[in-house]
């Protein structure tokens, strides 16, 4: 129960901080031209399932574009701002605290996804064909969790990076989009690259989206995507936990909590 309280408190703190500093039109509408183009392409295809798939994947792409650095940079910002001390001296795990922050950022990105989906409906001028809405809804939640865990694992990675790092994490945004299959089923990837997708929880979630859109081959075909996605998310959380330990150890050894 205490863990939930801690997550909620961290969520609230990061939410207030984000909403105080990040209200900008470009945050919410920046992806509109890009998704409009995707919708136009999908609308050229008589198979309406294509628009159905893209209308789920492209908003996730837009959310990821918007929130990635807000999540992945959260730990570095804490260190930079000199407030990491409070997290370290608290009995609450850093992982729990930063999970709340990551969730806050993801929730803040939801309107970006809704605006993107709305844009695609307007440009596509047709309702997407979705065979199974409940399965689609669960798949969306699973992908949401998957993206949160990917963002979370990047927090300690960025914090542990040393030297000149500006710009080196930027390609992670298209990397996750490319290999998550937000814009095409991952089976479209060349076989020599397909294995990368299988370590991303979001890619398994999109497999389930594909099943929900075109009609599931079997219940297991959908559920397996959720299971693998959630298992991979859990694995990423474990990795994140140990990476946070490394960050904490480094901070305690060097004594450099603030830069």
């Amino acid at each position: 129960m205490n863990t939930i309280y801690a997550i909620m408190a961290a969520f609230r703190q990061h939410w207030k901080n984000t909403t105080a500093n990040l209200w900008s039109l470009s945050f919410f509408f920046g992806a509109v031209p890009q998704v409009a183009v995707f919708a136009w392409i999908a609308s050229q295809n008589p198979d309406r399932a294509v628009l159905g798939y893209l209308i789920i994947g492209a908003p996730f792409m837009a959310i990821w574009n918007s929130v990635f650095f807000g999540i992945a940079g959260a730990l570095s910002n804490e260190i930079w701002d000199g407030v990491i001390e409070f997290t370290i001296i608290s009995k609450t795990s850093i992982l729990v605290s930063l999970l709340g922050k990551a969730l806050a950022m993801m929730v803040f990105g939801i309107p970006v996804g809704l605006i993107s989906a709305g844009t695609m409906l307007i440009v596509g001028r047709q309702m997407p064909v979705i065979d199974n809405w409940p399965m689609l809804f669960v798949s969306i939640i699973v992908i949401f969790i998957g993206l949160t865990s990917i963002g979370l694992v990047m927090m300690p990675v960025i914090a542990l990076s040393r030297g000149r790092t500006s710009g080196i994490f930027t390609p992670l945004i298209p990397l996750v989009i490319t290999f998550s299959g937000f814009l095409y089923p991952i089976t479209s990837l060349p076989s020599w690259l397909g294995f990368v997708s299988h370590i991303l929880p979001s890619a398994w979630g999109m497999e389930s989206v594909m099943q929900a859109v075109k009609g599931p081959d079997s219940a297991w075909a959908v559920i397996s995507g959720w299971v693998y996605s959630l298992l991979l998310s859990a694995a990423l959380l474990v990795i994140t936990y140990y990476l946070f330990k490394m960050v904490e150890k480094r901070l305690r050894i060097t004594g450099m909590t603030a830069h």
Binding site: S24, S26, G30, V32, P33, Q34, A36, V37, F38, W40, I41, A42, Q44, N45, V50, L54, R164, T165, S166, G167, I168, F169, T170, P171, P174, L175, I177, T178, L183, Y184, P185, S188, L189, P190
Partner: protein, 262 residues
């Protein structure tokens, strides 16, 4: 001439935040490779293999512009953030050469990005490299890259006025993504919009590039390349006047500090 190259290097080295090996590889090699891959695969899924070539070629040009515009507009904004303009304005440095020096070293960056994208197009689409008019491709790429540098210089003036570059980058990429024929063919739009699109950099160059991929002779696209070059020159000249006017306004009002200007 020596001073000009010193300016080139200092403006590039000091103001381009990604100017270290890891940052350079990440942005100039990895980013374009991933963008071309993402769009090519999306085109193949949503349409067909032929469309994936059309889209991949368009997005490759967009990747060139991403790297060049982000670099140049960011360096302009940084110049303002780091309060370097006040130092420039008390020197006798030739303003035209100073303005020109801000884009020279981004030119190879754009070219490298384009080459990376070309490799990805070869790997991921069924494009016939044997049919390409290679001489035409080289000329068209050199001209497009120069026009993009000029466009970025023009946008850089907005970066120093507003002390901000990310929104300007997003605006520039969005406008060209839709109206330059990168993904949506120009013919889809009404005539008036097509003409507006042709006032943007890359639009005319892309028409030439697409001809080049079809193996067309130089005469078939020489006018498009000429128009692309003229578009670049026009943006460069307008940008230069903006650069000079900014200095005059600053000197007249004495308001260079960010909170007081723009």
């Amino acid at each position: 001439m020596y001073n000009f190259w010193v300016q080139n290097w200092l403006l590039y080295k000091g103001l381009y935040d990604y100017n270290h090996l890891r940052g350079y590889i990440a942005n100039v090699v990895m980013q374009p490779a991933l963008m071309v891959m993402m769009y090519a695969l999306m085109g193949r899924y949503a349409m067909d293999a032929k469309t994936s070539i059309f889209i991949a070629v368009g997005i490759n040009v967009s990747s060139i512009s991403y790297n060049v515009i982000s670099g140049i507009t960011r360096s302009y904004a940084n110049d303002r953030w780091y309060s370097m303009f006040s130092i420039l304005y008390i020197t006798k440095v030739n303003r035209f050469w100073n303005y020109t020096a801000r884009s020279i070293l981004y030119y190879p960056t754009g070219l490298l990005s384009g080459i990376v994208g070309l490799v990805m197009i070869r790997l991921l689409t069924p494009v016939d490299f044997g049919a390409i008019n290679w001489a035409g491709l080289i000329v068209a790429t050199l001209v497009i890259n120069a026009a993009v540098c000029a466009w970025a210089e023009f946008l850089g003036i907005f970066a120093i006025v507003f002390s901000e570059w990310l929104t300007i980058l997003a605006f520039a990429l969005s406008v060209t993504l839709i109206l330059s024929g990168m993904i949506i063919p120009l013919e889809v739009f009404p005539t008036a919009l097509q003409e507006i699109g042709k006032l943007l950099p890359m639009t005319n160059g892309l028409i030439a590039i697409r001809e080049v991929f079809n193996g067309a002779p130089f005469s078939a696209f020489s006018f498009d390349i000429l128009r692309e070059a003229l578009t670049g020159i026009a943006y460069f000249v307008i940008g230069y006047f903006g650069f000079v006017i900014f200095e005059r306004v600053v000197k007249r009002t004495g308001k260079l500090e960010m909170e007081q200007f723009g």
